[in-house]
């Protein structure tokens, strides 16, 4: 069944928001209930599952050995991929990643990369030759709005959960040592997405609100409240003052989440 939202409901959502209320009872700046579980996929080096309202995302982390990039020979490699699997929404179709899943992956990547969350310097095994490659695979299992925040939170939770094998180089050969160590992390970035609806800014839009919104803006903050990534999305626009208001609100929400999650 196609999820076409009726015009009546569209109006309802927008009118309520103009008055400062949302259809699901939340305040304009409230997140839905967040539940995070870590270590749910034993085969992966790290994993996490998040429920953000009814949006469900699983992130699996695989850490493997690989070659560094030529311009950063002593640093590990981060690569993020996202799959919008068909069972997650009647609108997702099987096939290679489309622009939505590519955008999602790149936004999550930006938050982690620009905040320097992973201490990639510590992921070097043999300078210029062998480094650890961290594969972050985002798997969206149910789409009920705000895939960006859900995926970013799940990715960070999975990274926090990641253990990698110990290696050392002996006589030019890479040998495994017993034991594991945590993936070295320096920061815990948090991304907050706001939507513009009815001239107001709302945090954590759910699916119906996403279909009504003019535009969205996702802002990632590091542990020091600095902005490390921004992505405006949607086919509408923001006035400059609305952008700055969204940034202010997002900063507060990131701080709240950080405290709540104990990151």
């Amino acid at each position: 069944m196609a999820q076409v939202i009726t015009k009546v409901k569209q109006k309802q959502i927008a009118q309520l928001i103009e008055k400062g209320k949302r259809l699901d009872g939340r305040e304009l700046t409230d997140y839905r209930e967040i539940k995070i579980e870590q270590g749910i996929i034993e085969r992966a080096e790290g994993s996490a599952r998040i429920l953000l309202g009814k949006t469900e995302v699983v992130v699996g982390i695989k850490v493997e050995m690989g070659e560094p990039f030529s311009d950063t020979p002593n640093e590990g490699v981060l690569t993020v991929n996202a799959e919008l699997v068909p069972l997650a929404s009647p609108r997702f179709e099987p096939g290679p990643p489309d622009e939505n899943s590519i955008e999602l992956a790149r936004i999550v990547d930006r938050g982690i990369r620009e905040s320097k969350a992973i201490d990639t310097g510590k992921l070097c095994i043999e300078p210029g030759k062998k480094v650890f490659v961290v594969f972050v695979d985002v798997y969206v299992l149910n789409h009920d709005g705000n895939l960006i925040d859900a995926s970013a939170l799940a990715a960070m939770a999975a990274l926090l959960n990641t253990k990698m094998g110990k290696y050392e180089v002996e006589d030019g050969e890479v040998k495994m040592k017993p034991g594991y160590e945590q993936l070295p992390l320096k920061k815990r970035p948090i991304t907050v997405t706001c939507a513009k609806i009815g001239g107001r800014i709302v945090v954590d839009p759910w699916l119906d609100e996403e279909q009504v919104m003019d535009a969205r803006i996702s802002i990632a903050f590091d542990d020091d409240d600095n902005i490390c990534a921004i992505q405006k999305g949607g086919t509408g626009y923001f006035e400059p003052k609305e952008l700055f208001e969204a940034a202010r609100i997002a900063k507060e929400k990131a701080k709240e989440l950080r405290k709540k999650l104990n990151w």
Binding site: E99, R110, I217, I227, G233, R248
Partner: protein, 249 residues
């Protein structure tokens, strides 16, 4: 060849290419350069050389993608293999796919999508040479190509980036500054409606620095907008001038 410059901003506050912190690179724009396209524009922004072409509104192919109440806007941002230092494969990269999406989303608010149901508008952007800020120059050219094609628009769209380089907020980063600097903030604007249609950021900025960067980028946008209008005018005024001269002979 690994010539990483020592300083990006010298003691006099001048950048590697001699610009001041709030100075734009030189911009040259021409409208109506591809006769086959319904609308087109060519831009040189610093060393960027970018061509934009528009076809449409036209029939939707494949038919099942047609929308009953509005037009379908498609956008393809593509870089030529020779446009960058190391040859780039012609196949669309993930970056090009993301940029195609954000560029489309920056142009759509300016188009009256409901005017032509069951049609399609194709925007093609080809980057012939890249030097930082290609998405912004692409948007500036694409908006002109749309206007040149006669598609009704609410406003033009113009784009410019600002960022942070060696602790200073600067306007219009070139490639070296983008790679070695600490933040890049591209912004697209509908200038008469004061509406921001594209905003991205990577790097690290405090919320205050972010505000400064956005405001500086908006200033750059307004300067480039004047050049956009000039480019549209030039296409028509030059004929007027020719005829005036003829009449005076």
């Amino acid at each position: 060849m690994n010539d990483k410059p020592e300083k990006l901003i010298d003691k006099k506050g001048l950048r590697l290419d001699g610009r001041k912190l709030d100075e734009l690179r030189p911009v040259k724009i021409e409208v109506g350069v591809i006769s086959n396209a319904d609308g087109s524009a060519y831009i040189e922004h610093g060393k960027n050389k970018i061509l934009a072409g528009v076809y449409g509104p036209r029939e939707v192919h494949p038919k099942h993608l047609a929308l009953p109440d509005r037009t379908v806007l498609k956008c393809r941002y593509h870089m030529a293999p020779f446009s960058v230092q190391e040859r780039k494969s012609p196949a669309p990269s993930r970056r090009e796919i993301e940029l195609s999406k954000v560029i489309r989303e920056s142009l759509e608010p300016a188009i009256f999508m409901e005017y032509y149901p069951r049609t399609m508008i194709d925007v093609f952007v080809e980057v012939l040479q890249a030097d930082g800020g290609t998405r912004c120059a692409s948007i500036t050219a694409a908006a002109l190509a749309l206007a040149d094609s006669g598609i009704p628009m609410r406003d033009l769209v113009v784009a410019c980036a600002a960022g942070k380089v060696e602790e200073k907020i600067v306007l219009d980063l070139m490639d070296t500054e983008d790679k070695l600097g600490s933040a890049d903030v591209p912004v697209a604007l509908m200038p008469n409606l004061n509406a921001v249609t594209l905003l991205q950021m990577d790097g690290i900025l405090s919320t205050d620095e972010f505000e400064s960067a956005v405001n500086l980028a908006l200033e750059g946008c307004k300067q480039i907008y004047a050049l956009q209008k000039e480019a549209l005018r030039t296409k028509y005024v030059s004929i007027k001038e020719e005829n005036k001269e003829e009449a005076e002979e």
